[in-house]
């Protein structure tokens, strides 16, 4: 992985870990910025209390008091009466534990703050009209004053904001008014400081780790941003200046001049002009489908480098979502000039494995839909309510569905891509294999929508898009490797090869499945391999029944067993389509065995959205 790739993946993982707390930080930060601090501090009904009085009698010398040692002595006025406050130890902060005694400064008698005093002080400090409803001495820990280590007096008022006035028992001074505004602020502080244990502190390991991760996130984010800038992918959009671009269509050999917005990517610019390059990631730079060729030597973005082979890069191929119209005059593209939108009518639908449905459509008005084997179409899935389970599940597949709840779920709709499962140039039927996707609480919205179509139902789809197809190279053999619904485009390619009637080269199919039931189109392929001398069929099951006589295990093992034979100095191309994990492992095996990456073609279903 490149350094930038590494940075990106750190960025993503870290954002999972602290993303939520960051939102809390921003949200509470916003609160602090907007709130009126005087009110939020609980000061709405607070006024300062002046205790200072005038001496009316001589004060008793402090040494006449109980004669204890002290660090200092203060003359403290409480409600206009003088007291000696003998301080034994005075901590740095008021809320820390302190050892203090009070004495009446006239009589020298020990003095303790009692309820009537406390009530009077609270009333003086309170500007509202409500009455006191409770007075109590609270020992630490004091819930509303988390750092307090001394016992404090709490005076509660009967007002709508539930004001509590806290008074220091050693000073007779008001510590705070805690009302609902203040409680909200304290909650915000606790959230901001991640003080989920109410310690009143922000020096704890939880927030330190979150802050460390956040710093990592910011740094990786900025590195990423800078990389995007350097590659010209980020820029400040100016006016929609247009520019003439000459586009040569390789399929038809024609050239057209299009005026495209300069600031758009080539992908979006062309789409605006009605020319749709294939794209599964919608311009995200992760699918590698939106190739174009330029005679001018364009800079390479990291996505170009990750998704195109060095050879393609040398020949001038780049990704259209990664380059801007402004930098280019002339390009060549290998895409249909126009993408059609079709209204399709369901003509047949049936389960071919426990989870895969074969669905056949015809285009409205008997229109022919031209396509190359391996192509896919994009279905518009309208928002609505779907059933989690199919209604027409054949009895013999029931046992695979026992765990799946019945019921419905609602969704917003979207666009989903499905590969044409056959090469059917004579018949106008379009055949798809749709795997019913399931997860805990619902089903995949697109697959369960299409899976539930009845004969006669209509759907809208556009395409076909072609970015996975059998090459026109002179090769000795093509090895197709697939599993699950990934078989769809492979099956189309097989029939295309059969129909081309070519006996010049071999076609192999390595099909993986769990058991016999899941092995879609098994009989069809068996028959084909008996009829055609150059079609080789190797199904392999990971957990077959005891009647199975074929290969057992994963496709990876079959490939390891055959690879020597295939690579015997002859040109062999590989076509992969199936679960991501399988595709990655197979590709690794091939690359490690010395297969050049230009000879490996992949159809990755998970690169869509």
């Amino acid at each position: 992985m490149s350094l930038l790739g590494f940075t990106k993946s750190i960025h993503k993982w870290v954002s999972i870990a602290v993303g939520f707390q960051i939102m809390i930080w921003i949200g509470t930060g916003g609160y602090f910025a907007l709130v009126d601090h005087h009110v939020a501090g609980g000061n709405a009904s607070k006024t300062s209390v002046n205790h200072q009085g005038v001496k009316t009698r001589p004060l008793i010398p402090w040494m006449n008091l109980t004669g204890q040692s002290a660090e200092s002595v203060k003359l403290l006025w409480i409600l206009e009466q003088p007291y000696y406050q003998v301080i034994h130890t005075k901590p740095e902060h008021r809320y820390q534990k302190h050892y203090v005694q009070l004495f009446n400064a006239y009589s020298g008698e020990p003095f303790v703050l009692t309820e009537p005093f406390v009530k009077k002080i609270a009333n003086r400090s309170y500007t509202g009209t409500a009455n006191v409803i409770a007075v109590s001495l609270v020992k630490p820990p004091v819930r509303e004053l988390p750092r307090e280590e001394n016992a404090v007096w709490k005076v509660s008022f009967d007002d709508p904001s539930h004001t509590n006035v806290y008074i220091d028992k050693n000073y007779g001074r008001v510590i705070s008014h805690i009302d609902d505004d203040r409680r909200l602020r304290d909650l915000m502080f606790r959230l901001h400081f991640m003080d989920y244990g109410n310690s009143g502190s922000f020096n704890h390991w939880l927030i330190v780790s979150a802050a460390g991760l956040t710093l990592t996130l910011s740094v990786t984010g900025i590195v990423w941003l800078i990389a995007l800038f350097k590659s010209g992918l980020l820029r400040v959009p100016l006016a929609k200046n247009r520019k003439q671009l000459s586009v040569r269509h390789l399929a038809s050999g024609t050239t057209s001049d299009l005026a495209l917005p300069k600031a758009d990517t080539i992908l979006h610019g062309l789409a605006e002009a009605g020319v749709f390059l294939p794209s599964r990631c919608g311009g995200g730079g992760t699918c590698g489908a939106c190739k174009f060729k330029s005679s001018k030597n364009l800079p390479q973005t990291t996505a170009d480098q990750d998704l195109l082979s060095p050879e393609q890069l040398n020949r001038g191929y780049r990704l259209a979502c990664q380059h801007f119209v402004s930098g280019i005059e002339q390009i060549e593209i290998d895409a249909p000039q126009e993408v059609q939108t079709y209204e399709l009518t369901t003509v047949e639908t049936k389960f071919v494995t426990p989870f895969i449905k074969e669905i056949k459509f015809t285009a409205a008005g008997g229109k022919r839909v031209p396509y190359r084997a391996g192509a896919y179409m994009s279905f518009i899935i309208p928002g609505g309510t779907n059933f989690i389970r199919p209604k027409d599940l054949p009895q013999h597949y029931e046992r695979y569905w026992q765990q799946i709840p019945s019921g419905t779920f609602t969704h917003q709709g979207g666009v989903r891509h499905y590969s044409l499962a056959t090469y059917d140039s004579l018949d106008n039927k379009l055949i798809f294999n749709v795997r019913w996707q399931l997860h805990e609480s619902a089903a995949g919205l697109g697959s369960s929508y299409l899976g539930a179509l009845n004969v006669g139902d209509k759907v809208i789809a556009s395409g076909p898009f072609s970015d996975f197809f059998a090459s026109e190279n002179e090769v000795v053999r093509r090895v197709l490797i697939g599993a699950g619904s990934g078989l769809a485009p492979l099956r189309a390619i097989i029939w295309e090869q059969v129909e081309l009637g070519s006996d010049r080269h071999e076609t192999w199919l390595i099909q993986g499945a769990r058991n016999e039931d899941e092995l879609a189109y098994n009989e069809e392929f068996e028959t084909l391999s008996e009829e055609m001398g150059n079609f080789f069929y190797l199904p392999t099951l990971s957990s077959p029944s005891c009647n199975w006589e074929g290969k057992q295990g994963y496709v990876q093992q079959v490939i390891l067993g055959q690879i020597k034979h295939w690579l015997n100095g002859e040109v062999t191309e590989f076509y992969l389509c199936g679960p991501s994990k399988m595709m990655i492992e197979v590709e690794n095996i091939l690359i490690n065995s010395g297969v050049p990456s230009e000879l490996i073609f992949k159809d990755d279903f998970s690169s869509g959205r």
Binding site: M63, K74, V208, T214, L215, K581
Partner: protein
């Protein structure tokens, strides 16, 4: 996006600094020795009663030890500090430079030399790290890389506050954190509100992207 990105970085750095540094350390509590002394009662020949008689408007009267002698400290009606010798009852004259040095040295926990001393009495010339209510003060700085500084009140000889580099950095970090690039106390400036809103939007879109991304990763596994 870029601007918010930079501010995000500043928030992260400043936030990390502030949570990483123990607040008691930042406040330089370790800088002074525990100079608590017992009051020596027999040296107090001038009583509270006399003090209040001679200074009827004095507030916050406190009897305490200062460099080994008992003194009274209080605040005058004019709002500045004053000190009175508890033995003789005489006003203690304003602290001179050599006394300020002595007081600072006496309570300083390290054994570095004093590098410079300066009297600050004009509020318009005060450094931003002290508040005007502490004036006039002697600024006593020690010769150490963290530049520990003790502020000694000229009238009372009391060490009113202290600073060292980690605390000064903390103040800077706080300013960066609340995006107040001028004064350091105003949490609600417009810049902050604007950035907080954009940041919120950026954060939210980030989370949405992340959720989409995770869902498509699950889809890979489920094919």
């Amino acid at each position: 996006m870029v601007v918010v990105g930079a501010q995000f970085l500043l928030w992260a750095i400043s936030g990390l600094y502030m949570v990483l540094m123990n607040i008691h350390y930042v406040h330089g509590e370790f800088l002074s020795v525990d100079s608590r002394e017992e009051l020596i009662g027999r040296e107090v020949n001038y009583s509270f009663d006399s003090l209040v008689r001679d200074n009827p408007k004095a507030i916050n009267v406190e009897l305490t030890m200062s460099s080994g002698h008992p003194i009274y400290r209080f605040v005058t009606p004019q709002g500045h500090g004053a000190a009175v010798d508890a033995n003789t009852g005489e006003r203690i004259p304003p602290v001179k430079e050599h006394q300020a040095r002595q007081i600072a040295k006496y309570s300083y926990a390290g054994n570095d030399e004093i590098s410079h001393v300066k009297l600050i009495s004009d509020a318009s010339l005060k450094p931003s790290e002290i508040s005007a209510r502490h004036l006039p003060v002697w600024q006593v700085t020690f010769d150490h890389y963290s530049a520990p500084t003790f502020y000694v009140n000229e009238y009372t000889g009391e060490i009113v506050t202290k600073r060292h580099t980690p605390w000064r950095i903390f103040d800077w970090m706080w300013r960066l954190h609340i995006m107040d690039y001028t004064e350091g106390e105003n949490v609600s400036n417009l810049l902050f509100i604007l950035s907080a809103t954009t940041a919120l939007a950026a954060g939210l879109t980030g989370i949405i992207l992340l959720v989409l991304r995770l869902r498509s990763d699950f889809a890979k596994e489920a094919l």
